[in-house]
Amino acid sequence: MESYALLMAATLNAGTVLALAALGLLINEKAGIVNLGAEGLMLCAAIAGFATVVHTGNDLLGFAAGMGAGAVLAAVFGLLVIWLGTNQYATGLALSLFGVGFSAFVGIGYVQEKLPTRPQFEVPWLADIPLIGPALFRQHPLVYGAMALAVAMIWFLYRTRTGLVLRSVGESPESAHALGYNVRRIRMAAVVTGGALCGLAGAYISVIYTPLWVEGMVAGKGWIALALTTFATWRPARVLLGAYLFGGVTMLQFHLQGTGVDVPSQLLTALPYVATIVVLASISRNPVWIRVNMPTSLGKPFHPGS
């Protein structure tokens, strides 16, 4: 039983990366922008965060650096996509490819570096409850941060005026424009915020999750985060659950191997990806449901005055 509690803990940890990135992408997509560059962005943020902690020893600065790197790259993306009207998918891809190469390039000097001993976190008293304690209460603060973020996002999107404006920009930029809102600025704000969150996820990977720098260490999590937003029909709570589901399947694969289950390891490795496809298919099957949930202007450029 204890090993299941530990599996749960590992799942929460693994899912946090996905949750942070996917929530960031969610903000983008609620405003109507798809940022396919998540993977490259997260890698650049990862090296920014790692390098900062190597030089300053301060984790918080590392996270800030990651968020900063994410925001800057997202801003470049936003400039191209929102103001110059370039194709969102192609630009996102370019960002991804560039980010992979650039992070590897910048990170060369850091490949052998290590961080000061990672701190252990525990919620006092709650962590000692048998089973539930180790499962839920021995996590890095950001794990709880991701959950809080999801809640905050629900409140922001559905209970505040700004959130409403954001959603309306995503649903119908023309109407929002007609009402006098600066659609481009709002979208840019969404893109930069989303980028900062993806950056936080990237920094989490290199500073906490696997405190090393290795090129390509995000290993596809950016792409999975993109899938997650669709998977979760653009709702923050579902994004969180989906993130944990994915984190869980990844950890489950190794857990099963360790228990001697006789399934080819490749099948287990492929499981999260197959699961994504299956869920995507079953969710998307109902076009009405998709139409109801997907921001209508997703992926389409907006030109004021057109």
């Binding site: 191209l80 192609a90 390039f105 490749q266 995507l280 099957r285």
Partner: protein
């Protein structure tokens, strides 16, 4: 202040000049990077633009690298022109390689030369079926083709891995994860001795011609593009956007699978876990930089190959890091996208008064 002003019609000049300008920008940044790293920028540029073309052997290697890129990009060009976003060409490449490899493994010392045709056909079929999955899921379930095709890349990698670690592992290979080396009769014929360039290059050029004719001279090609870009107009004209979807994915999948077959029965000669070399993703850049035009893609494929090979040479001869190649490729695409705005927009200095 600078303002972007929409042009009344797309600028033809900038249509051609934009990629050139983008390349120039990338080179400029490249020179800056070389200098920042303390390397001689002229030598650096030499590695990327002179060394890969300076001898017949070098040109041959350039073509070896460019062939799969071009073949995949041709298929992707059809796909993207139809507004279908197949990101999973890499997975279709792998499945084509797997299918082709499977047929190649059936050969023995007595098999005739015809098996090469079977191998190539199997490769096309493999890639086609894998992309067909994406089409099916989009057609029946509305599933976003970007995400599905991408996820299938990872699944394809696992299928390959399972086969080379398991049923297709070379029994005489000390249990290393690789298939038998294919019999020499399965080798895609080379164009000339002393070089690894294969008939695949001719197939690629034929593909260029075919694609050009299809897209620009046939009704079907026209219907295909309209079906993707303007579904409402397509419906009105009687073109099926559903058919456009299937054709786009099957063509790009088949092309990627063909590239996989050419690689695996060509320079590689066996199935290993390292068959996925990223060509499927690089081809996306090739397609874009080539403006989704078959002739443009020939140039961009050669350019990308020069970046790859130049990056390798820069590493071994100048001590430059390998990641430079990725930086240049990403930069090229970025600059291209930025420069492309000049096709539709004009930069104007406007005084504040106006």
């Amino acid at each position: 202040m600078l303002k972007l002003e929409a042009r009344p019609e797309a600028s033809k000049l900038w249509g051609y000049a934009s990629p050139v300008l983008a390349l120039l920008l990338t080179v400029l940044v490249g020179v800056a990077i070389f200098m920042a790293l303390g390397k001689d920028p002229v030598r650096g540029l030499q590695m990327f633009f002179w060394e890969p073309v300076k001898s017949a052997y070098a040109l041959g290697e350039l073509m070896v690298k460019a062939t799969p890129l071009l073949v995949i990009a041709l298929g992707l060009g059809v796909c993207y022109r139809s507004n279908v976003w197949n990101i999973g060409a890499e997975g279709q490449f792998v499945m084509g390689a797997v299918a082709a490899g499977g047929v190649a493994l059936l050969a023995d010392a007595t098999t005739g030369r015809w098996i090469v045709v079977a191998i190539v056909l199997a490769g096309i079929l493999g890639g086609l079926l894998w992309a067909g999955l994406v089409a099916l899921l989009r057609d029946r379930f509305n599933a976003n083709e970007i995400l599905v095709s991408l996820m299938l890349v990872y699944v394809a990698d696992m299928v390959l891995s399972y086969l080379v670690y398991g049923p297709w592992k070379d029994p005489a290979g000390y249990n290393f994860p690789q298939s038998k080396t294919f019999e020499s009769v399965t080798q895609i014929p080379r164009l000339m001795s002393g070089s690894r360039v294969s008939v695949g290059l001719l197939i690629a050029f034929a593909g260029v011609g075919l694609m050009w004719v299809y897209l620009f001279r046939t009704r079907a090609g026209f219907a295909q593009q309209v079906g993707g870009l303007a579904p409402a107009a397509a419906r009105y004209a009687g073109f099926s956007s559903r058919q456009a979807l299937w054709v786009a994915l099957l063509v790009s999948g088949g092309a990627a699978g063909l590239a996989g077959a050419l690689e695996v029965a060509g320079p590689i000669g066996q199935l290993t876990p390292y068959v996925p070399a990223g060509y499927g993703f690089a081809a996306i850049i090739v397609a874009y930089v080539g403006r989704l035009h078959p002739v443009g893609m020939v140039f961009s494929a050669v350019l990308m190959s020069m970046f790859y090979i130049g990056g390798e040479l820069a590493q071994s001869r100048l001590g430059l890091p390998k990641s430079i190649t990725g930086v240049f490729q990403g930069l090229l695409l970025f600059s291209l996208l930025a420069c492309d705005t000049l096709v539709a927009y004009r930069l104007r200095w406007l005084s504040r008064r106006a």
